[in-house]
């Protein structure tokens, strides 16, 4: 008997049973359900976030074991989310589209300072520029943590963007000091979606992070491709036939002008062309005596 099955058969206290049922009912109310990381968010801030989500999504926090149970009990593929229940997490549900939820959560994230001993969630960069700090020992501190800094024009300057810590590395006390002094807040605090199941389909955060601009670029590329194919293969469509007509007309004009075809439709252009050629030839003549007054430079 597997450990999981074993757990299911054990007798559960009444309050746990009720909590699981409650969680399951919560999960059942939404088309899209996700697991969010709430690590390091103070409870008051969590309350604010709940309020901001009101109307679009709901957040429910409980013991991890109970959340796992509820996810496994509700059908609809939610068991795929069990693997994300680890650390400080909550369940989030929405009936709006999950892509919008992801975007909303990302936008609501706020920067926060990082303390010594914490693990950097992403690369920590000290940007190029004037620190505004007077010359002093701070330049040494900057150099110690790996920033390319020097004294210039009466203050300490960082000469180039300097990556002082890579994602996943631990922040040292020195670095925490330097970042604090510079006011750099490398953390993004907020609800961090780990995974979503929407109507039975699982999405990773990467899949939820859709770039609308990219889709527009794809639409444009696809419609260009179709235009090109239509015109190059000479298969007319309502969208491309005007271009094909213009192209054909342009070809006829080009042939007509280069052959100097005496057509009423080309007469204007032929006269213009002759005039332009005459002027061009006149411009190539150095001796003004050879030209009538109108054509003298």
């Amino acid at each position: 008997m597997s450990a999981e099955a074993e757990r299911k058969t054990e007798t559960i206290p009444e309050w746990k049973r009720e909590e699981i049922d409650d969680l399951a009912a919560f999960l059942g109310r939404y088309e899209s359900v996700g697991v969010v990381d709430i690590t390091g968010i103070p409870s008051r801030q969590l309350q604010d976030m709940r309020r901001e989500l009101h109307g679009t999504a709901a957040l429910r926090v409980s013991r991890n074991t109970l959340m796992e149970r509820a996810l496994a009990e509700v059908d609809e593929g939610l068991e795929a989310l069990v693997e994300f229940v680890e650390g400080q997490v909550g369940l989030i549900g929405t009936n709006d589209n999950p892509f919008g939820l992801y975007q909303q959560l990302e936008e609501s994230k706020t920067p926060a300072p990082i303390s010594a001993g914490e693990v950097a969630p992403n690369d920590v960069v000290i940007p190029e520029g004037d620190t505004g700090v007077d010359p002093g020992p701070f330049v040494g501190e900057l150099q110690t943590v790996g920033a390319n800094a020097r004294i210039e024009g009466g203050s300490i300057k960082v000469v180039e963007d300097s990556t002082v810590l890579s994602a996943g590395e631990e922040v040292s006390a020195d670095l925490a000091n330097v970042l604090g002094e510079l006011g750099i807040e490398p953390k993004e605090v907020g609800l961090d979606l780990r995974g979503v199941v929407s109507e039975g389909v699982s999405f990773s955060p990467e899949e939820l992070d859709i770039d609308v601009e990219e889709y527009i670029a794809d639409l444009e590329a696809a419609s260009s491709a179709a235009r090109n194919l239509s015109i190059n293969a000479e298969y007319p469509t309502a969208r491309t036939v005007p271009s094909m007509l213009a192209k054909a007309a342009g070809e006829a004009k080009s042939v007509g002008l280069s052959a100097a075809v005496e057509s009423p439709d080309l007469a204007d252009d032929l006269v213009s062309k002759a005039d332009a050629q005459m002027r061009s030839l006149a411009a190539a003549i150095d001796d003004e005596e050879a030209l009538p007054e109108e054509l003298r430079g």
Partner: protein, 68 residues
């Protein structure tokens, strides 16, 4: 491109750009006319202002028209 040229001839002479007329012009030029292409062209032209399309071409720089 001969199908498009044929449509333009009909347009210039104020004849209707329909299957019969296109086929007639093309056959007179010795083209082995494909009915489906004629149909497709007529369908594509249904809501198109031919004159406007041509004028765009006329407005454009006259094809470099080189040659003597």
């Amino acid at each position: 491109m001969e199908y498009v040229y044929a449509a333009l001839i009909l347009h210039e002479t104020d004849e209707e750009i329909n299957e019969d007329n296109l086929t007639g012009v093309l056959e007179a030029a010795g083209v082995d006319v494909e009915e489906s292409r004629v149909k497709a062209l007529v369908a594509a032209l249904e809501d198109v202002d031919v004159e406007e399309a041509i004028e765009t071409a006329a407005a454009a720089p006259a094809g470099g028209a080189g040659g003597a």
